[in-house]
Protein backbone atom coordinates (compact mmCIF):
# COMPACT_ATOMS: atom_id res chain seq x y z
CA UNK A 1 0.00 0.00 0.00
CA UNK A 2 2.80 2.43 0.86
CA UNK A 3 4.10 2.61 -2.63
CA UNK A 4 7.82 3.27 -2.88
CA UNK A 5 10.45 3.10 -5.56
CA UNK A 6 8.48 5.43 -7.78
CA UNK A 7 10.60 7.11 -10.44
CA UNK A 8 9.02 10.54 -10.29
CA UNK A 9 10.91 11.19 -7.05
CA UNK A 10 13.64 13.65 -7.94
CA UNK A 11 17.19 12.36 -8.03
CA UNK A 12 19.72 14.45 -6.14
CA UNK A 13 23.48 14.35 -6.25
CA UNK A 14 26.34 16.06 -4.42
CA UNK A 15 26.82 19.54 -5.91
CA UNK A 16 29.73 19.99 -8.29
CA UNK A 17 30.71 23.23 -9.99
CA UNK A 18 29.56 23.38 -13.61
CA UNK A 19 32.37 25.42 -15.09
CA UNK A 20 30.68 25.54 -18.47
CA UNK A 21 28.41 28.13 -16.86
CA UNK A 22 29.31 31.81 -16.88
CA UNK A 23 27.26 32.94 -13.88
CA UNK A 24 26.57 30.87 -10.80
CA UNK A 25 23.53 31.30 -8.58
CA UNK A 26 23.58 29.27 -5.38
CA UNK A 27 20.53 28.97 -3.20
CA UNK A 28 20.51 27.32 0.21
CA UNK A 29 18.44 26.76 3.29
CA UNK A 30 19.71 25.92 6.81
CA UNK A 31 22.10 22.97 6.66
CA UNK A 32 22.25 23.52 2.91
CA UNK A 33 25.13 25.79 3.89
CA UNK A 34 27.40 22.78 4.21
CA UNK A 35 27.16 21.57 0.60
CA UNK A 36 27.29 25.18 -0.64
CA UNK A 37 30.49 25.85 1.30
CA UNK A 38 31.98 22.66 -0.12
CA UNK A 39 30.85 23.71 -3.60
CA UNK A 40 32.51 27.12 -3.19
CA UNK A 41 35.76 25.57 -2.09
CA UNK A 42 35.67 23.13 -5.03
CA UNK A 43 35.13 26.10 -7.29
CA UNK A 44 38.07 27.97 -5.82
CA UNK A 45 40.24 24.95 -6.55
CA UNK A 46 39.00 24.43 -10.08
CA UNK A 47 38.49 27.97 -11.34
CA UNK A 48 38.96 30.81 -8.80
CA UNK A 49 37.77 33.43 -11.28
CA UNK A 50 34.30 31.86 -11.26
CA UNK A 51 33.80 33.05 -7.68
CA UNK A 52 33.57 36.64 -8.93
CA UNK A 53 30.55 35.54 -10.99
CA UNK A 54 28.91 33.70 -8.11
CA UNK A 55 26.06 34.93 -5.96
CA UNK A 56 24.49 33.17 -2.97
CA UNK A 57 20.92 33.37 -1.68
CA UNK A 58 20.55 31.87 1.77
CA UNK A 59 17.90 31.35 4.43
CA UNK A 60 19.47 30.79 7.84
CA UNK A 61 17.43 28.29 9.80
CA UNK A 62 18.93 29.24 13.18
CA UNK A 63 19.90 32.75 14.28
CA UNK A 64 23.46 31.94 15.30
CA UNK A 65 24.63 30.53 12.03
CA UNK A 66 28.26 30.76 11.06
CA UNK A 67 27.52 29.93 7.46
CA UNK A 68 27.09 33.51 6.29
CA UNK A 69 30.58 34.45 7.46
CA UNK A 70 31.99 31.49 5.57
CA UNK A 71 30.19 32.59 2.39
CA UNK A 72 31.53 36.13 2.76
CA UNK A 73 35.03 34.83 3.25
CA UNK A 74 34.79 32.86 0.00
CA UNK A 75 35.10 36.04 -2.05
CA UNK A 76 31.86 35.73 -3.95
CA UNK A 77 30.25 38.62 -5.82
CA UNK A 78 27.23 38.89 -3.56
CA UNK A 79 25.54 37.27 -0.58
CA UNK A 80 21.85 37.80 0.12
CA UNK A 81 20.48 36.40 3.37
CA UNK A 82 16.89 36.04 4.48
CA UNK A 83 14.97 35.04 7.57
CA UNK A 84 12.04 33.61 5.66
CA UNK A 85 11.76 31.32 2.65
CA UNK A 86 9.08 33.46 0.99
CA UNK A 87 11.29 36.55 1.09
CA UNK A 88 14.12 34.62 -0.53
CA UNK A 89 11.84 33.28 -3.26
CA UNK A 90 10.54 36.77 -4.10
CA UNK A 91 14.05 38.21 -4.23
CA UNK A 92 15.37 35.31 -6.31
CA UNK A 93 12.52 35.74 -8.79
CA UNK A 94 13.43 39.40 -9.25
CA UNK A 95 17.08 38.47 -9.78
CA UNK A 96 16.17 35.84 -12.36
CA UNK A 97 14.34 38.47 -14.38
CA UNK A 98 17.62 40.30 -14.85
CA UNK A 99 19.79 37.18 -15.26
CA UNK A 100 21.44 36.19 -18.53
CA UNK A 101 21.84 32.98 -20.46
CA UNK A 102 24.87 31.13 -19.18
CA UNK A 103 23.56 31.06 -15.62
CA UNK A 104 23.73 27.87 -13.56
CA UNK A 105 21.54 27.32 -10.54
CA UNK A 106 22.64 25.23 -7.56
CA UNK A 107 20.21 24.43 -4.77
CA UNK A 108 20.90 22.84 -1.38
CA UNK A 109 18.58 22.19 1.51
CA UNK A 110 15.52 20.16 2.44
CA UNK A 111 13.52 18.85 -0.50
CA UNK A 112 10.46 20.85 0.47
CA UNK A 113 12.52 24.05 0.08
CA UNK A 114 14.24 22.95 -3.11
CA UNK A 115 10.89 22.15 -4.69
CA UNK A 116 9.86 25.79 -4.32
CA UNK A 117 13.13 27.03 -5.86
CA UNK A 118 12.73 24.56 -8.73
CA UNK A 119 9.36 26.03 -9.56
CA UNK A 120 11.00 29.40 -10.08
CA UNK A 121 13.67 27.75 -12.23
CA UNK A 122 10.92 26.22 -14.35
CA UNK A 123 9.19 29.60 -14.75
CA UNK A 124 12.41 30.93 -16.25
CA UNK A 125 12.73 27.90 -18.53
CA UNK A 126 15.84 26.58 -16.84
CA UNK A 127 16.23 23.00 -18.01
CA UNK A 128 17.75 19.91 -16.51
CA UNK A 129 21.17 20.88 -17.83
CA UNK A 130 21.13 24.22 -15.98
CA UNK A 131 20.12 23.18 -12.47
CA UNK A 132 21.81 21.01 -9.84
CA UNK A 133 20.40 20.07 -6.47
CA UNK A 134 21.63 18.34 -3.32
CA UNK A 135 19.24 17.25 -0.61
CA UNK A 136 20.19 17.76 3.00
CA UNK A 137 18.48 18.49 6.27
CA UNK A 138 15.03 17.23 7.13
CA UNK A 139 13.39 14.70 4.84
CA UNK A 140 9.97 16.08 5.85
CA UNK A 141 7.70 16.25 2.83
CA UNK A 142 5.12 18.56 1.39
CA UNK A 143 2.07 16.41 0.74
CA UNK A 144 -0.74 17.21 -1.66
CA UNK A 145 -4.07 15.69 -0.62
CA UNK A 146 -5.41 14.19 -3.81
CA UNK A 147 -8.96 14.32 -2.44
CA UNK A 148 -9.35 17.93 -1.23
CA UNK A 149 -6.39 19.47 -3.15
CA UNK A 150 -4.85 21.08 -0.06
CA UNK A 151 -1.15 20.94 0.83
CA UNK A 152 0.23 19.72 4.16
CA UNK A 153 3.67 21.03 5.07
CA UNK A 154 6.43 19.25 6.99
CA UNK A 155 5.04 15.74 6.99
CA UNK A 156 7.35 13.41 8.92
CA UNK A 157 5.12 10.39 9.30
CA UNK A 158 4.10 7.52 7.04
CA UNK A 159 0.46 8.50 7.35
CA UNK A 160 -0.96 11.91 8.12
CA UNK A 161 -4.39 13.36 8.86
CA UNK A 162 -5.47 15.98 6.35
CA UNK A 163 -7.66 18.98 7.09
CA UNK A 164 -10.42 17.12 5.24
CA UNK A 165 -10.34 14.53 8.07
CA UNK A 166 -9.02 11.75 5.90
CA UNK A 167 -5.90 9.83 6.85
CA UNK A 168 -3.48 9.85 3.95
CA UNK A 169 -0.65 7.53 3.02
CA UNK A 170 2.22 9.34 1.33
CA UNK A 171 3.05 7.92 -2.09
CA UNK A 172 6.52 8.41 -3.52
CA UNK A 173 4.92 10.01 -6.59
CA UNK A 174 6.24 13.61 -6.79
CA UNK A 175 4.93 16.58 -8.77
CA UNK A 176 7.42 19.34 -9.54
CA UNK A 177 4.55 21.67 -10.43
CA UNK A 178 2.96 21.23 -7.01
CA UNK A 179 6.36 20.70 -5.33
CA UNK A 180 4.67 17.96 -3.33
CA UNK A 181 4.12 14.23 -2.95
CA UNK A 182 0.75 12.63 -3.47
CA UNK A 183 -1.27 11.81 -0.36
CA UNK A 184 -4.00 9.17 -0.82
CA UNK A 185 -6.59 7.97 1.70
CA UNK A 186 -5.09 5.01 3.52
CA UNK A 187 -8.14 3.19 4.83
CA UNK A 188 -10.68 3.59 2.05
CA UNK A 189 -10.85 -0.14 1.36
CA UNK A 190 -11.18 -1.04 5.03
CA UNK A 191 -12.33 1.95 7.10
CA UNK A 192 -10.33 2.46 10.28
CA UNK A 193 -7.67 -0.09 9.28
CA UNK A 194 -4.61 2.12 9.44
CA UNK A 195 -0.97 1.25 9.87
CA UNK A 196 0.70 2.47 13.01
CA UNK A 197 1.97 6.04 12.78
CA UNK A 198 5.72 6.03 12.34
CA UNK A 199 8.18 8.84 11.86
CA UNK A 200 9.81 7.96 8.55
CA UNK A 201 10.80 11.30 6.95
CA UNK A 202 13.31 12.68 9.45
Amino acid sequence: MLITGIRSKPVYAPLQPDLLGRYHVMVGHGVGATPLSRLLSDMRQAEPKALACTRVWYVAAAAANGATNAFRAAGIAELRTFGEVDALLADLTAAMRAALMGTRLYVAGPESFMGLVMRIAHDFNLNRDEVRAEECGTLARRVHCIHCHSTIENVRTNIVECGCKRWLVVRDHYSRRLAAYMGVMVDAEAPGERPQIKEVFL
Binding site: L20, M96, R97, M101, G102, R104, F124, N125, D129
Partner: protein, 322 residues
Protein backbone atom coordinates in the same frame (compact mmCIF):
# COMPACT_ATOMS: atom_id res chain seq x y z
CA UNK B 1 8.02 -2.39 -36.73
CA UNK B 2 8.69 -1.07 -40.17
CA UNK B 3 8.55 2.57 -41.06
CA UNK B 4 7.85 2.37 -44.70
CA UNK B 5 7.69 5.50 -46.74
CA UNK B 6 5.29 4.07 -49.26
CA UNK B 7 2.84 6.64 -48.01
CA UNK B 8 4.06 9.61 -50.04
CA UNK B 9 1.90 12.48 -51.27
CA UNK B 10 1.77 13.20 -55.00
CA UNK B 11 2.21 16.90 -55.80
CA UNK B 12 2.31 19.03 -58.92
CA UNK B 13 4.64 21.99 -59.35
CA UNK B 14 2.48 25.09 -59.82
CA UNK B 15 5.20 27.76 -59.85
CA UNK B 16 8.96 28.00 -60.23
CA UNK B 17 10.93 31.18 -59.77
CA UNK B 18 14.67 31.85 -60.03
CA UNK B 19 15.10 34.09 -56.98
CA UNK B 20 18.89 34.39 -57.00
CA UNK B 21 21.56 33.17 -59.37
CA UNK B 22 21.70 29.89 -57.40
CA UNK B 23 18.33 29.55 -55.71
CA UNK B 24 15.04 28.45 -57.19
CA UNK B 25 11.73 28.72 -55.40
CA UNK B 26 9.10 26.03 -55.97
CA UNK B 27 5.40 25.90 -55.13
CA UNK B 28 3.73 22.47 -54.88
CA UNK B 29 0.01 21.73 -54.85
CA UNK B 30 -1.53 18.34 -54.12
CA UNK B 31 -2.13 16.51 -57.39
CA UNK B 32 -5.52 15.30 -56.21
CA UNK B 33 -6.66 18.75 -55.07
CA UNK B 34 -7.61 19.72 -51.51
CA UNK B 35 -5.15 20.59 -48.79
CA UNK B 36 -1.70 19.34 -47.87
CA UNK B 37 -1.07 18.10 -44.31
CA UNK B 38 -0.76 20.71 -41.57
CA UNK B 39 2.74 21.20 -40.15
CA UNK B 40 4.73 23.26 -37.67
CA UNK B 41 7.39 25.83 -38.52
CA UNK B 42 10.82 24.23 -38.86
CA UNK B 43 9.50 21.09 -40.58
CA UNK B 44 11.11 19.61 -43.65
CA UNK B 45 9.78 17.34 -46.34
CA UNK B 46 11.61 14.73 -48.38
CA UNK B 47 11.18 15.31 -52.10
CA UNK B 48 11.41 12.11 -54.13
CA UNK B 49 12.90 12.76 -57.57
CA UNK B 50 12.81 9.94 -60.06
CA UNK B 51 15.69 10.61 -62.41
CA UNK B 52 16.50 8.54 -65.48
CA UNK B 53 19.09 6.40 -63.69
CA UNK B 54 18.70 7.20 -60.03
CA UNK B 55 16.10 8.13 -57.44
CA UNK B 56 17.03 11.11 -55.28
CA UNK B 57 15.44 11.82 -51.92
CA UNK B 58 16.41 15.24 -50.66
CA UNK B 59 15.19 17.05 -47.55
CA UNK B 60 14.00 20.64 -47.92
CA UNK B 61 12.57 22.95 -45.25
CA UNK B 62 9.01 24.10 -45.71
CA UNK B 63 9.10 27.90 -45.93
CA UNK B 64 5.43 28.67 -46.48
CA UNK B 65 2.96 29.62 -43.78
CA UNK B 66 1.72 26.70 -41.66
CA UNK B 67 -1.66 28.40 -41.90
CA UNK B 68 -1.92 28.08 -45.67
CA UNK B 69 -2.13 24.50 -46.78
CA UNK B 70 -3.30 24.78 -50.39
CA UNK B 71 0.37 24.67 -51.34
CA UNK B 72 3.82 24.03 -49.88
CA UNK B 73 6.82 26.18 -50.77
CA UNK B 74 10.48 25.23 -50.74
CA UNK B 75 13.70 26.78 -52.00
CA UNK B 76 16.51 24.80 -53.55
CA UNK B 77 20.11 25.97 -53.61
CA UNK B 78 21.99 24.58 -56.54
CA UNK B 79 24.95 22.80 -55.01
CA UNK B 80 28.04 22.92 -57.16
CA UNK B 81 29.12 20.29 -57.98
CA UNK B 82 25.71 18.75 -57.48
CA UNK B 83 25.40 15.07 -56.66
CA UNK B 84 22.20 15.10 -58.63
CA UNK B 85 19.31 16.13 -56.41
CA UNK B 86 19.63 19.89 -56.59
CA UNK B 87 20.64 19.73 -60.26
CA UNK B 88 17.52 17.66 -60.92
CA UNK B 89 15.34 20.25 -59.19
CA UNK B 90 17.00 23.10 -61.10
CA UNK B 91 17.16 21.50 -64.54
CA UNK B 92 14.35 19.00 -64.81
CA UNK B 93 11.54 20.33 -62.66
CA UNK B 94 9.23 22.92 -64.18
CA UNK B 95 5.65 24.05 -63.84
CA UNK B 96 3.45 20.99 -64.30
CA UNK B 97 6.11 18.48 -63.19
CA UNK B 98 4.82 15.81 -60.84
CA UNK B 99 6.81 14.78 -57.76
CA UNK B 100 6.23 12.82 -54.57
CA UNK B 101 6.84 14.14 -51.09
CA UNK B 102 6.86 12.50 -47.68
CA UNK B 103 4.82 13.87 -44.77
CA UNK B 104 6.51 16.76 -42.95
CA UNK B 105 8.85 15.96 -40.06
CA UNK B 106 10.02 18.59 -37.59
CA UNK B 107 13.53 18.17 -36.21
CA UNK B 108 13.97 21.92 -35.73
CA UNK B 109 10.95 22.88 -33.63
CA UNK B 110 10.56 26.08 -31.66
CA UNK B 111 10.79 25.52 -27.89
CA UNK B 112 7.34 26.30 -26.56
CA UNK B 113 8.50 27.34 -23.10
CA UNK B 114 11.18 29.72 -24.37
CA UNK B 115 11.05 33.22 -22.95
CA UNK B 116 12.71 34.57 -26.07
CA UNK B 117 13.67 33.18 -29.48
CA UNK B 118 16.85 34.24 -31.27
CA UNK B 119 16.89 33.11 -34.91
CA UNK B 120 20.17 33.14 -36.86
CA UNK B 121 19.99 32.46 -40.60
CA UNK B 122 22.73 32.21 -43.17
CA UNK B 123 21.90 32.13 -46.88
CA UNK B 124 19.49 29.35 -47.84
CA UNK B 125 19.19 28.64 -44.08
CA UNK B 126 16.50 31.31 -43.95
CA UNK B 127 13.85 28.86 -45.18
CA UNK B 128 12.78 27.06 -41.97
CA UNK B 129 12.63 30.42 -40.19
CA UNK B 130 10.21 31.81 -42.77
CA UNK B 131 7.65 29.23 -41.67
CA UNK B 132 8.49 29.69 -37.98
CA UNK B 133 7.96 33.45 -38.20
CA UNK B 134 4.31 32.75 -39.01
CA UNK B 135 4.02 30.70 -35.82
CA UNK B 136 5.93 33.29 -33.75
CA UNK B 137 3.70 36.17 -34.81
CA UNK B 138 0.82 34.39 -33.08
CA UNK B 139 2.58 34.31 -29.69
CA UNK B 140 3.48 36.96 -27.12
CA UNK B 141 7.04 35.68 -26.79
CA UNK B 142 9.72 38.13 -27.97
CA UNK B 143 11.91 37.09 -30.91
CA UNK B 144 14.62 38.46 -33.19
CA UNK B 145 15.86 37.26 -36.54
CA UNK B 146 19.35 37.91 -37.91
CA UNK B 147 19.79 37.01 -41.58
CA UNK B 148 23.18 37.02 -43.29
CA UNK B 149 23.79 36.60 -47.02
CA UNK B 150 26.76 36.99 -49.34
CA UNK B 151 25.30 40.08 -50.98
CA UNK B 152 21.89 41.67 -51.55
CA UNK B 153 21.85 39.88 -54.90
CA UNK B 154 22.27 36.50 -53.18
CA UNK B 155 19.82 37.29 -50.41
CA UNK B 156 16.80 35.44 -51.66
CA UNK B 157 14.29 36.79 -49.21
CA UNK B 158 15.88 39.92 -47.73
CA UNK B 159 13.11 42.23 -48.83
CA UNK B 160 10.38 39.86 -47.77
CA UNK B 161 11.86 39.46 -44.30
CA UNK B 162 12.55 43.18 -43.90
CA UNK B 163 8.98 44.03 -44.82
CA UNK B 164 7.38 41.32 -42.69
CA UNK B 165 9.53 42.02 -39.63
CA UNK B 166 10.57 45.68 -39.69
CA UNK B 167 11.17 45.76 -35.92
CA UNK B 168 12.59 42.33 -35.36
CA UNK B 169 14.79 41.57 -38.37
CA UNK B 170 18.38 42.60 -39.06
CA UNK B 171 20.04 41.91 -42.38
CA UNK B 172 23.75 41.47 -42.99
CA UNK B 173 25.71 41.20 -46.24
CA UNK B 174 29.25 39.87 -46.54
CA UNK B 175 29.69 42.16 -49.55
CA UNK B 176 29.15 45.19 -47.32
CA UNK B 177 31.40 43.69 -44.61
CA UNK B 178 28.43 43.34 -42.29
CA UNK B 179 28.51 40.17 -40.25
CA UNK B 180 26.35 38.84 -37.44
CA UNK B 181 28.07 39.61 -34.12
CA UNK B 182 27.46 36.15 -32.73
CA UNK B 183 29.43 36.67 -29.56
CA UNK B 184 27.80 40.03 -28.86
CA UNK B 185 24.34 38.60 -29.38
CA UNK B 186 24.83 35.48 -27.30
CA UNK B 187 26.45 37.41 -24.44
CA UNK B 188 23.39 39.39 -23.50
CA UNK B 189 20.33 37.21 -23.80
CA UNK B 190 17.86 36.94 -20.94
CA UNK B 191 17.51 33.68 -19.06
CA UNK B 192 15.20 31.30 -20.91
CA UNK B 193 16.29 32.37 -24.41
CA UNK B 194 16.62 29.73 -27.12
CA UNK B 195 18.93 30.23 -30.08
CA UNK B 196 18.30 28.58 -33.45
CA UNK B 197 20.77 28.50 -36.29
CA UNK B 198 20.44 27.30 -39.86
CA UNK B 199 23.00 28.07 -42.53
CA UNK B 200 26.40 27.03 -43.85
CA UNK B 201 28.30 24.46 -41.79
CA UNK B 202 30.89 27.05 -40.72
CA UNK B 203 28.23 29.37 -39.35
CA UNK B 204 26.55 26.56 -37.42
CA UNK B 205 29.87 25.51 -35.91
CA UNK B 206 30.66 29.10 -34.89
CA UNK B 207 27.30 29.52 -33.19
CA UNK B 208 27.54 26.19 -31.36
CA UNK B 209 31.09 26.90 -30.19
CA UNK B 210 30.35 30.47 -29.14
CA UNK B 211 27.21 29.43 -27.29
CA UNK B 212 29.11 26.76 -25.43
CA UNK B 213 31.92 29.14 -24.54
CA UNK B 214 29.38 31.61 -23.18
CA UNK B 215 27.75 29.03 -20.96
CA UNK B 216 24.68 28.18 -23.01
CA UNK B 217 23.41 24.69 -22.17
CA UNK B 218 22.71 22.35 -25.08
CA UNK B 219 18.97 22.32 -24.40
CA UNK B 220 18.76 25.99 -25.44
CA UNK B 221 20.73 25.67 -28.67
CA UNK B 222 19.06 24.31 -31.81
CA UNK B 223 20.48 23.83 -35.26
CA UNK B 224 19.40 22.46 -38.59
CA UNK B 225 22.00 21.24 -41.00
CA UNK B 226 21.16 20.08 -44.47
CA UNK B 227 24.25 18.88 -46.20
CA UNK B 228 24.52 16.60 -49.13
CA UNK B 229 25.94 13.22 -48.14
CA UNK B 230 29.72 13.34 -48.64
CA UNK B 231 31.06 11.50 -51.64
CA UNK B 232 33.94 9.01 -51.50
CA UNK B 233 35.27 5.81 -52.97
CA UNK B 234 32.95 3.13 -54.23
CA UNK B 235 32.53 0.04 -52.04
CA UNK B 236 30.45 -3.12 -51.74
CA UNK B 237 27.96 -3.80 -49.01
CA UNK B 238 26.00 -6.87 -47.96
CA UNK B 239 22.67 -6.74 -46.14
CA UNK B 240 22.81 -9.65 -43.76
CA UNK B 241 19.11 -10.10 -42.98
CA UNK B 242 17.80 -9.52 -46.49
CA UNK B 243 20.65 -11.42 -48.15
CA UNK B 244 21.23 -8.64 -50.65
CA UNK B 245 24.59 -7.57 -52.06
CA UNK B 246 24.95 -4.06 -53.39
CA UNK B 247 27.47 -1.61 -54.76
CA UNK B 248 27.73 1.98 -53.47
CA UNK B 249 28.83 4.46 -56.13
CA UNK B 250 31.28 7.28 -55.32
CA UNK B 251 28.56 9.97 -55.47
CA UNK B 252 25.83 7.85 -53.91
CA UNK B 253 25.09 7.53 -50.20
CA UNK B 254 24.91 4.13 -48.54
CA UNK B 255 21.25 4.78 -47.77
CA UNK B 256 20.52 5.59 -51.39
CA UNK B 257 22.24 2.40 -52.50
CA UNK B 258 20.19 0.39 -49.99
CA UNK B 259 16.99 1.99 -51.27
CA UNK B 260 18.03 1.40 -54.88
CA UNK B 261 18.36 -2.30 -53.99
CA UNK B 262 14.69 -2.27 -53.04
CA UNK B 263 15.15 -2.34 -49.26
CA UNK B 264 12.92 -0.03 -47.24
CA UNK B 265 15.38 1.29 -44.66
CA UNK B 266 14.31 3.70 -41.90
CA UNK B 267 15.25 7.39 -42.05
CA UNK B 268 14.02 10.80 -40.95
CA UNK B 269 16.48 13.64 -41.52
CA UNK B 270 18.86 12.20 -44.15
CA UNK B 271 21.47 14.52 -42.68
CA UNK B 272 23.17 12.45 -39.98
CA UNK B 273 21.48 14.25 -37.12
CA UNK B 274 18.39 12.44 -35.90
CA UNK B 275 19.73 8.94 -35.35
CA UNK B 276 16.77 7.21 -36.91
CA UNK B 277 18.68 5.29 -39.60
CA UNK B 278 21.31 3.94 -37.20
CA UNK B 279 22.27 0.49 -38.39
CA UNK B 280 24.39 -2.20 -36.76
CA UNK B 281 27.59 -3.14 -38.53
CA UNK B 282 28.19 -6.89 -38.60
CA UNK B 283 31.62 -6.78 -40.23
CA UNK B 284 33.86 -4.49 -42.25
CA UNK B 285 37.21 -5.30 -43.86
CA UNK B 286 38.37 -1.71 -43.87
CA UNK B 287 37.50 1.53 -42.14
CA UNK B 288 34.15 3.23 -41.49
CA UNK B 289 33.95 6.92 -42.44
CA UNK B 290 31.53 8.47 -39.99
CA UNK B 291 30.09 11.78 -41.21
CA UNK B 292 27.17 11.99 -38.77
CA UNK B 293 26.55 14.17 -35.72
CA UNK B 294 24.63 11.49 -33.83
CA UNK B 295 26.92 8.66 -32.74
CA UNK B 296 29.22 9.36 -29.81
CA UNK B 297 32.96 9.27 -30.34
CA UNK B 298 33.09 5.93 -28.52
CA UNK B 299 30.37 4.48 -30.73
CA UNK B 300 32.18 5.70 -33.83
CA UNK B 301 35.42 4.19 -32.63
CA UNK B 302 33.78 0.87 -31.80
CA UNK B 303 32.87 0.32 -35.45
CA UNK B 304 29.65 -1.41 -34.43
CA UNK B 305 27.16 1.08 -35.88
CA UNK B 306 26.80 3.41 -38.84
CA UNK B 307 24.39 6.12 -40.04
CA UNK B 308 23.93 5.15 -43.71
CA UNK B 309 22.33 8.48 -44.68
CA UNK B 310 25.70 10.29 -44.56
CA UNK B 311 28.39 7.79 -43.61
CA UNK B 312 30.22 5.30 -45.77
CA UNK B 313 33.23 3.01 -45.67
CA UNK B 314 36.64 2.64 -47.25
CA UNK B 315 36.66 -1.10 -47.67
CA UNK B 316 35.91 -3.85 -50.09
CA UNK B 317 32.98 -5.23 -48.12
CA UNK B 318 30.72 -3.81 -45.40
CA UNK B 319 28.18 -6.19 -43.82
CA UNK B 320 25.11 -4.56 -42.27
CA UNK B 321 22.40 -5.95 -40.01
CA UNK B 322 19.55 -5.06 -42.34
Amino acid sequence: MSHSHADTIPVRVVAVEQVTPQIKHFIFAPTGGGELPAFSGGSHIIVVMRGAQRVFRNPYSLMSSPNELDTYQISVLRVDPSRGGSAFMHEQVRVGSELEIAHPVNLFALAKLARKHLLLAGGIGITPFMAQLHDLRLTDVPYEIHYATRSPEHGAYCELIAQAEPQRARLYHDSAAKFIDIEGLLSHQPLGTHVYVCGPAGMITRVLETARALGWPDSHVHYEKFSAPPTGEAFDAYLDKSGIALHVLPDQSLLEAIEAAGVDAPYLCRGGVCGFCRTDVVAVDGELIHNDHYLSDEEKASGKAIMPCVSRARCSKLVLSL
